[in-house]
């Protein structure tokens, strides 16, 4: 018999508050967290806005936060969200559980490069009519200005390492980076590790911020971001005909996944059961999804099969719903490809309409919203939905939360590079 895995703790640092309750309440109210970028001077970029985490101070979340204040915000968000999740699961006390059986699986974003050092060192190193960079001069400038500790913290394995160290999580320690699918993939693979008996508890999720100069540079060059600068709060408009790009968000979400009997033995709160996981590759193009949602169809179908459910069991879909033309049309096609006629009956919404795209943290934050929807019986809306798109003709829960019981929820994440990950989470009946 397969080991069953339940969710016994959740934590979230998002543009809609510093906890799960705030996040869900704001989602039901349809609040947008999008506004002008404050982290750096972004006024000249095609995109000047994002959904930032506001008023965050790690010291209010973590005793002994000092050594981590020079880490990237991705690491600081992860530390805070993990502490919430472990406290929620009553697993902060290191003496009551075998810490070797508690692992970490993080969808981990990169830190924020020292943009000012890098660009000024390159610019000052350029020489000659060919405008090439003199590497020796570049190196000298860099060594003059780089901060060693910050550079060490940029390495992508450090976030997961700090989580293990701070919270005594001495089981398997994994970090993945599959672009926008990373958070869901981390949760899904952690689920498999518990099923295989390699851990009893996995603290899984994602943390990321690309609201930094090179992040906005990169996405603006790819013309992936909305440039609706006159109206940031309506810029993220998944499935709407007039959508024209996604909005960057940031934050972290962490869940405590636990083997059912382990959770029962210690009387842990059980929020939901994680029942299904699917992952596939489009093997199509670097950024565009396959237009029929080829990889996404199999990914969703695999997740349902893994959960031993049929499409009609699903009461709500938390969509990837980025607000790009390509994603929202391909995702709609994929949902119809799996659900057939029932696709028109199952409510679908995109959390990104309010919090933007948390990239590596997106999937797990959306999973947490899905768990709350199951528990509270109210489905969050897609805001800014005004003009229907013939290519997107499902029930997207436009603009208003809806009371509706959902026993099983599908949460999708699709990323650059053709990465697909879907999770199914189910109501926990005692």
């Amino acid at each position: 018999m397969r080991r069953r895995v339940v969710i016994t703790g959740m934590g979230a640092i998002t543009p809609l508050g510093h906890g799960v309750a705030d996040l869900y309440a704001s989602q039901l109210e349809g609040k947008s967290a999008v506004g002008p970028i404050s982290r750096f001077d972004a006024r000249a970029f095609p995109t000047t806005f994002a959904a930032e985490v506001k008023g965050f101070d790690l010291r209010t979340h973590l005793k002994g936060a000092g050594p981590y204040l020079r880490c990237g915000v991705n690491t600081q968000f992860a530390l805070a969200a993990t502490r919430q999740a472990l406290e929620d699961a009553d697993l902060l006390n290191t003496h009551t559980t075998d810490r070797d059986r508690i692992g970490v699986y993080l969808g981990s974003g990169e830190g924020s490069e020292d943009f000012l050092s890098l660009i000024s060192a390159i610019g000052r190193g350029v020489e000659g009519p060919a405008q090439k960079v003199n590497p020796a001069r570049f190196v000298s400038h860099m060594l003059d200005t780089l901060d060693p500790r910050s550079e060490a913290e940029l390495e992508m394995h450090t976030t997961g390492g700090h989580l293990a160290d701070v919270f005594d999580l001495c089981g398997p320690n994994y970090s993945c980076q599959t672009a926008c699918a990373a958070g869901s993939q981390a949760v899904g693979e952690a689920l498999e590790m518990i099923r295989f008996g390699e851990a009893d508890v996995m603290v899984a999720g994602g943390s990321h911020s690309m609201i930094h100069p090179l992040g906005v540079t990169g996405f603006n060059l790819l013309t992936a971001l909305s440039t609706r600068t006159d109206s940031p709060t309506t810029a993220s408009r998944p499935f709407d005909l007039t959508r024209e790009g996604f909005v960057l968000g940031e934050g972290a979400g962490m869940v405590v996944l636990e083997e059912l009997e382990h959770a029962r033995r210690r009387g842990a709160p059980i929020y939901a059961e994680l029942t299904g996981y699917g992952t596939t590759a489009d093997a199509y193009r670097m950024t565009d999804p396959h237009p029929d949602g080829r990889g996404a169809v199999r990914c969703i179908a695999d997740a349902l099969k893994d959960a031993r459910l049929s499409p009609a069991d699903i009461g709500y879909i938390n969509a990837h719903g980025t607000s790009t033309q390509a994603n929202d049309a391909a995702e709609t096609a994929a949902i119809k490809g799996v659900f057939g006629e029932y696709a028109y009956k199952v409510p679908v919404s995109s959390s990104k309409s309010m919090i933007g795209h948390l990239i590596a943290a997106a999937g797990v934050v959306e999973l947490i919203i899905s768990v709350m929807a199951i528990r509270k019986g109210v489905l969050p809306p897609t805001i800014n939905y005004e003009t229907p798109d013939p290519a997107c003709d499902l029930d997207y829960l436009p603009n208003q939360a809806r009371e509706r019981k959902a026993r099983h929820v599908l949460s999708n994440s699709f990323g650059f590079g053709g990465q697909n990950a879907s999770l199914v989470v189910s109501e926990w009946l005692k």
Binding site: R43, I119, S120, A121, I122, F138, R149, A152, M156, Q177
Partner: protein, 425 residues
């Protein structure tokens, strides 16, 4: 361990290393005790404290990549090119072409990092946006007119999951795909995850690989600020000294190592050659880097393989030459094997490549099991009491037992181990 009859064997190997780009060349160089660590030639490194590294000699991606994929090279940074080409080599070695594995039963697990930007991508934009002052950038210029001077696909050249992306497109691999970024442990974690995927019947064939390059001005600048790098610039081939009393740091490098991991019956049905079987793995965290957590991880991997330390022919260590980290690793190994089992560290031949290192190193043990001899560790001359293990040095010794254990760790204490078994048909 979930009960399963599905076994995972190695049926392909693709390498791009400073000492060879075929398994034969790489193996011969290790047997001959050659080192590919040299003074840097990729760029003028004269202003760096550490100016040695393991560069890929004569790496010209367009001469190596399949012709019909050549135009994609423009959107690949160097580590992405290395990884994609090494995967192509592994597929060739496994005797598999695009379409010969059912696409939905063909997956990938790749160890990677965010690659370093090539400086010339930003040259014009930066020049326009800066003056002569350090750390001053005019954002009105950078976010405005300068943006047009940057290649539109800039970001895609460097994202960690791009090796996997290109490989899945190149070979139509539509199964599970993941990219792990846990530094030096990532390659072994990729193996663990790929084995789980095969055991749970989601794939017949998995590409398991890693690639990285630190041989560029940006990575070398950054790592020189915080990483424990050697100062033996005058003696590069002897610079990295694993577990030696006089070690003074590591050398960085570049390369790729990619394996084909295949479900045994699938491999048998097509008459594939088999290098070895993956029989155990484990991972964990060693708080405080005492070595105790490291030892536990090794023991768990042995337990999954169903063997004891006495069954192990050799331990394949990272042995990067750092004063602190070699001692940590040695404590971890000694806690399980004492001085009974020889330890081999191939790293002095090619340097430390972070995401690629564990798999570049693992290739040495896979080939040792296959050929029945284990090369000697370079540059280990004076044992260090802080490293209480038996390092195999000098001329090759005969392999006498069927199992090799590969270990890996990060500077923060993340640890992984893998057990491979000699294939005897």
């Amino acid at each position: 361990m979930a009960a399963t009859s599905r076994r995972a064997v190695l049926t392909g190997l693709g390498l791009l290393t400073p000492v060879g780009r075929t398994a034969d060349d790489y193996w011969q160089a290790l047997l001959d005790g050659k080192s590919g660590v040299r003074g840097l030639t990729a760029f003028d490194a004269s202003t760096l404290p550490c100016r040695v590294g393991g560069e890929l000699p004569d790496f010209v991606a367009k001469n190596l990549i399949e012709k019909n994929y050549r135009k994609a090279l423009n959107s690949m940074g160097r580590p992405v090119q290395i990884g994609t080409i090494a995967a192509q080599f592994a597929m060739h070695d496994a005797g598999l072409a695009k379409g010969s594995v059912a696409p939905e039963r063909f997956g990938i697990e790749f160890a990677s990092v965010m690659a370093a930007t090539e400086l010339d991508d930003f040259a014009r934009a930066s020049q326009q946006s800066v003056n002569c002052a350090p750390r001053v950038v005019d954002m009105a210029t950078w976010g405005g007119p300068a943006l047009k001077e940057i290649p539109p696909l800039w970001m895609l050249k460097y994202l960690p999951n791009m090796p996997a992306c290109h490989v899945t497109i190149m070979f139509d691999a539509q199964g599970p795909s993941n990219t792990l970024i846990s530094a030096e442990t990532a390659g072994l974690l990729c193996f663990a995850e790929a084995v789980r995927i095969i055991r749970r019947d989601l794939a017949e064939f998995m590409i398991v690989g890693g690639s990285d390059s630190k041989m560029n001005p940006l990575s070398m600048s950054r790592f020189n600020t915080f990483a424990p790098l050697t100062r033996r610039n005058d003696d590069p081939t002897r610079s990295v000294r694993p577990f030696d009393r006089d070690r003074d740091g590591t050398a960085l490098g570049e390369g790729g190592a990619v394996f084909g991991l295949e479900e045994l019956d699938h491999a048998r049905a097509r008459g594939a050659k088999v290098y070895a079987e993956v029989v155990g793995y484990a991972a964990g965290f060693d708080k405080g880097k005492t070595g105790a957590g490291f030892s536990k991880v090794i023991r768990r991997a042995l337990a999954m393989a169903g063997i004891t330390p006495a069954d192990v022919d050799h331990v394949n260590a990272h042995g990067c030459g750092s004063v602190e980290l070699d001692a940590f690793e040695a404590r971890g190994i000694a806690g399980v094997f004492g001085t009974d089992v020889p330890v081999y560290a191939p790293l002095p031949a090619f340097g430390s490549t972070s995401a690629a290192s564990a798999l570049m190193e693992l290739a040495a043990s896979v080939l040792a099991l296959k050929h029945g001899v284990l090369p000697g560790t370079l540059n280990h001359e004076n044992p260090d009491p802080a490293c209480p293990i038996r390092v195999h040095t000098g001329s090759p010794r005969a392999v006498t037992k069927p199992y090799a254990v590969k270990v890996a760790y990060t500077d923060l204490g993340q640890v992984a181990a893998l057990v491979v078994k000699k294939w005897e048909g």
